[in-house]
Structures are given as structure tokens and as C-alpha cells.
């Protein structure tokens, strides 16, 4: 019998390609190897369906299972936590001619991924509004605000949150006159929530959370008024989006 590592490598290639090669000669019932291949493809397709229910509802069951199968073959999991599987699905959908007629689909997938991550992100104590308010303004503008692990930013040329609600409810959606959307995804009292942001506030959050800029720099780049900044900070404090305030000179 070949060494265990060779058997496992050959088995793994078989699960991905359907050709079990040398393993077929080593096992008692080679025809049944397809049971393992079907389980690999179907169980991971089900995991994707659990993460992307709105994408599935938008394209229909049969189309989704075909997309999922191709995705699993192209991007199999690298680790055993299924809630963390499927990050590349939105980019994959953007390349599929079959769903090119649904141009919002990749953004819908991005939103579902962000919500899925928010649901299982690590717990972390947050910095409340009174604590933020107690910091001198010039120190605060020089600081970097650390985001809660559940926070994500999703923007789209389409109204993806309304689209998501509609497809999950089995309703049609009229895209004429539809507007872009900037969404803050967060978790509050154990539930994933969405908040619509205007473009300026969203640019501030991008600067702070995605580009890691100090608050003052992100504020200037976003071209907000002082009052708008105060209102975004109040909102972040209220929803528990900030978990730390880092001062450069204290690093």
C-alpha cells in the first residue's frame, strides 16, 4: 500500500477532479468514492447557501447549486470553520456570464458576507460616547479609533439592503431610478444591523477603519462639517462601534 500521505493527496485530487487515480486501486469499493465527492460538493454548497440566502433567492435554487459547485471546485475551504468559508464568492459572481444580467449580485453577496461575519465576529468591549467626549478634541483628532470586529462597510451603485429584503421575501424589485447605497454593518444586542450612511460620513469611516488614518486626516479627506463629524462620532459611540482609541506618541 502507498504511504498515507500519498493516499491522502491522491484522494484529495479525486475529490476535486473526480479522478481518484491510485486510490481507486487501493480501496475495496472504488465506485463508492463518488459518495465522498458528492458530499464534498453538496455539503459545501449548503454552507454557501446558508451564508448567501439572498443570492440564492435572487438566482433560484438550480442556478445557485451550479454556481456553488463551480465555486467550491475553484475555491475549496482552507480551514474547517464553515462560517468563515466563501469570502471570494462576490468576486467569483462578478466573473460569471450566467448571472451578468443581475449586475447587483456581487454587491448583494458582499453585503451578505459582511452580515455573516458580523454575526460571528469576536466579542469586544466598546468605548462609549462619554469616554470619547472626555478626550480633548486635539488629542482625539490625532488618534486612531479601533473598530469593533463586527463592523463592516459596504457600498453599492444599487440599493442592496432593500434588494436583499425584497428577494428574501420573494418579492420583485424595480431597479429604475434606484439609488446607490452606503451601509455600515454592525452588531447590537446580539443582532446584526445595518445603517444607511451619507457619502461624507461613509468616506470618514472608510478613512478611519479601512485606511487606518488618524481621525483628523480621515475627517479632512471626507470634507465633513464639524457638526457632521460630531454626529457620526455620536452614532459610533452609541452603537458600540469603537473598541479603542490609540494615540501615536503612546504607541
Amino acid at each position: 500500500m502507498p504511504a498515507l500521505h500519498e493516499i491522502q493527496q491522491s484522494f484529495g485530487r479525486g475529490l476535486r477532479s473526480g479522478d481518484f487515480g491510485a486510490v481507486a486501486a487501493s480501496v475495496t469499493h472504488p465506485a463508492r468514492l463518488s459518495i465522498y465527492r458528492n458530499h464534498f460538493l453538496i455539503s459545501l454548497g449548503e454552507a454557501l447557501a446558508a451564508t448567501y440566502p439572498a443570492v440564492k433567492a435572487a438566482v433560484g435554487e438550480a442556478c445557485f447549486s451550479g454556481l456553488a459547485r463551480r465555486f467550491v471546485l475553484a475555491n475549496p475551504p482552507v480551514a474547517p470553520v464553515l462560517a468563515e468559508y466563501g469570502a471570494e464568492f462576490a468576486d467569483f459572481l462578478a466573473d460569471q456570464a450566467e448571472v451578468a444580467g443581475l449586475p447587483y449580485l456581487p454587491d448583494l453577496a458582499r453585503l451578505e458576507w459582511a452580515m455573516n461575519r458580523a454575526a460571528v465576529a469576536a466579542d469586544a468591549p466598546s468605548v462609549g460616547l462619554p469616554e470619547l467626549a472626555a478626550i480633548a478634541p486635539e488629542r482625539l483628532t490625532a488618534s486612531r479609533l479601533a473598530q469593533h470586529p463586527a463592523i463592516a462597510l459596504v457600498d453599492s451603485a444599487y440599493p442592496v439592503s432593500a434588494l436583499r429584503d425584497a428577494v428574501l421575501a420573494g418579492e420583485g424589485f424595480d431597479l429604475t431610478g434606484a439609488r446607490e447605497e452606503c451601509l455600515l454593518v454592525y452588531r447590537r444586542d446580539g443582532a446584526v444591523a445595518l445603517r444607511n450612511m451619507d457619502a461624507g460620513g461613509f468616506a470618514l469611516l472608510r478613512g478611519m477603519f479601512e485606511q487606518g488614518r488618524p481621525l483628523g486626516q480621515a475627517f479632512e479627506a471626507a470634507r465633513l462639517s464639524e457638526a457632521e463629524l460630531a454626529s457620526v462620532l455620536a452614532m459610533l459611540g452609541e452603537i458600540g462601534a469603537i473598541t479603542g482609541v490609540e494615540f501615536d506618541h503612546e504607541r
Binding site: 500500500m1 491522502q8 484522494f11 475549496p76 474547517p80 464553515l82 465576529a121 463586527a150
Partner: protein, 283 residues
């Protein structure tokens, strides 16, 4: 001998709210480690239930049969969960799930060879060292065997126990499924296993599929426990009366009442076996 825990059930997310609201009487709850490595509401619900139920952590992704060894990052995460939840039992399977950087989300079969025994023993020892706990290793459902295997599954498990000090999670449904699919004697396997090594018993439903003119049993955990598996459970309960039992149900989930009733059925079965044993002793 200390009385065993009454029969537990696998905790699945759709039942979480009903569990929290009603706290049905079951012996313990078993979770899949891989479903609770993050935070958020699922984790919070578990922390709450943990105050009322003993917990068993059943891992499905350590891939103890991997020739490449156990993934250090995954082991670190499972270890942190074990430390946090301090479960009564910890287990994973006699199988492998990953190779060349791909995780296949399945409990893939091992050839029962001397080489595989050395590899599994090293992996189990590494996990036990990290967790600083004895773990239980479960016999998997198998659809293929390997030509040229050096020993039976029972002998492989016995040797693994000898080398690592681990225990055995005897899944009587898997035993039945594998015996049917590969030809084997499940009753004989129960008689061969060391009583001291078996630390937990699993019960679950399976599906029958007809393919290429043969009937294959598939371990889908999607129905009530089959009559043939209940008969095996009686034999297992007679030999391993100290080991707690658990009902697993993962697909076509029933209501919580039906799940709890299945656990009660297992308790009644054990009580009958126990009474029979007392009568035999008295006679």
C-alpha cells in the same frame, strides 16, 4: 460505579431559542467546536445554556488522521474554546479531512495500517498535550475500506488507546453503517472493545440508498435512530453502562420535543438493560 449522565443531545442552532426558553431535561449538550469559535449571539446563547447543562465539545475538523499533522492555528482556536467552556468531554474522529491546504468538510476514511496508527497516535498525543485533557476518538461511518489493511478498526482503536491514553467515543450508528457497507460484525466489535476505554456512545439516524444494484447506508443524521441501531445500543449499554449516550440529529431537524423524546428512549433502553443485569446477578 458512579451513575452515568442521562442521555444528551447535539445542540443545533435552530433549537437554541427553544432550549433557552424551555430548558428541557436532557443529560448534557454536545456542540461542534467549529461552530463556536467566534463570538456573537450563538456564543452568548451557549454561555447561558452552559450554566444549566454539562457540555461536551465534539470537534469535526482537527483531522487527526492527517499525514501532514494537525493544523496549529485550528488547534489553538479549539484549545481556547476548551479552556473557556471547561467541557465534561472532548472528542473528534478516527478520520482525516485536509491535505495540501484544502479542507474537505468530511470524515474521510483511513487505511488501518501500522503507519496510519503511528500518525494518528502522534496527532492525538499532540492534541491531548495541548488541551491537557484526555480526548475520545470516534469510529466513523465508512463507505470504502482499504486493501491490505493490517488490522480491524477495533484493533486499531485499542492500540491507539494503548499508545496515547485516549478514550473511545463509540458511535453505534457508525458501527452499523460501516458493518453493513463493508461487511463486518458490529456485535463482535462491541464485544471486543475495552469497557474502560469507551467514554461516550453516539446514536443517530442513517439513510439507505440504492446504487449500482446494492444498498448503501449513508450516515446523514437525518432521521430517528433505526431499530437495528437500537438493538446494538442495548449491547453497548450492557457493556459500557458507565458511558453517557448522545442523540445526534443534523439534517431534516425535528422539533425539540421529538429530539428530547429520542434521548428519553435511550434512557429507557439503558434502564431496561440495567434491570436485566440486576436480575441476572440476583438469579
Amino acid at each position: 460505579m458512579r451513575a452515568p449522565l442521562s442521555t444528551g443531545v447535539g445542540l443545533r442552532t435552530p433549537h437554541s431559542a427553544a432550549f433557552a426558553a424551555r430548558r428541557p431535561k436532557v443529560g448534557f449538550l454536545e456542540i461542534h467546536a467549529e461552530n463556536y469559535l467566534g463570538g456573537g449571539p450563538a456564543r452568548a446563547a451557549l454561555e447561558d445554556l452552559r450554566r444549566d447543562y454539562p457540555l461536551s465539545i465534539h470537534a469535526v475538523g482537527l483531522s487527526l488522521g492527517s499525514a501532514e499533522g494537525v493544523d496549529a492555528d485550528h488547534l489553538a482556536r479549539v484549545s481556547a474554546l476548551v479552556e473557556r467552556l471547561a467541557p465534561a468531554l472532548i472528542s473528534d474522529h478516527l478520520s482525516w479531512s485536509a491535505v495540501d491546504g484544502t479542507y474537505f468538510n468530511d470524515l474521510l476514511p483511513l487505511p488501518y495500517t501500522i503507519e496510519a496508527l503511528r500518525i494518528v497516535a502522534e496527532n492525538v498525543a499532540r492534541v491531548q498535550d495541548r488541551l491537557r485533557r484526555r480526548m475520545l476518538i470516534e469510529n466513523p461511518s465508512r463507505y470504502v475500506g482499504f486493501r491490505g489493511a493490517a488490522m480491524s478498526e477495533t484493533a486499531f482503536l485499542a492500540e491507539l488507546v494503548e499508545r496515547t491514553g485516549c478514550g473511545i467515543l463509540l458511535d453505534v450508528n457508525n458501527l452499523h453503517v460501516s458493518a453493513h457497507n463493508l461487511g463486518g460484525d458490529a456485535e463482535a466489535a462491541i464485544a471486543d472493545l475495552s469497557s474502560a476505554a469507551v467514554g461516550e456512545i453516539h446514536l443517530a439516524g442513517h439513510a439507505r440508498v440504492e446504487a449500482d444494484g446494492e444498498t448503501i447506508l449513508i450516515d446523514d443524521h437525518g432521521s430517528a435512530v433505526d431499530a437495528a441501531v437500537w438493538r446494538l445500543f442495548e449491547s453497548a449499554a450492557a457493556r459500557f453502562g458507565h458511558a453517557p449516550a448522545l442523540i445526534e440529529w443534523d439534517s431534516n431537524l425535528p422539533s425539540l420535543d421529538v429530539l428530547v423524546a429520542e434521548a428519553e428512549k435511550a434512557d429507557r433502553c439503558r434502564a431496561t438493560v440495567e434491570a436485566r443485569r440486576h436480575r441476572a446477578r440476583a438469579a
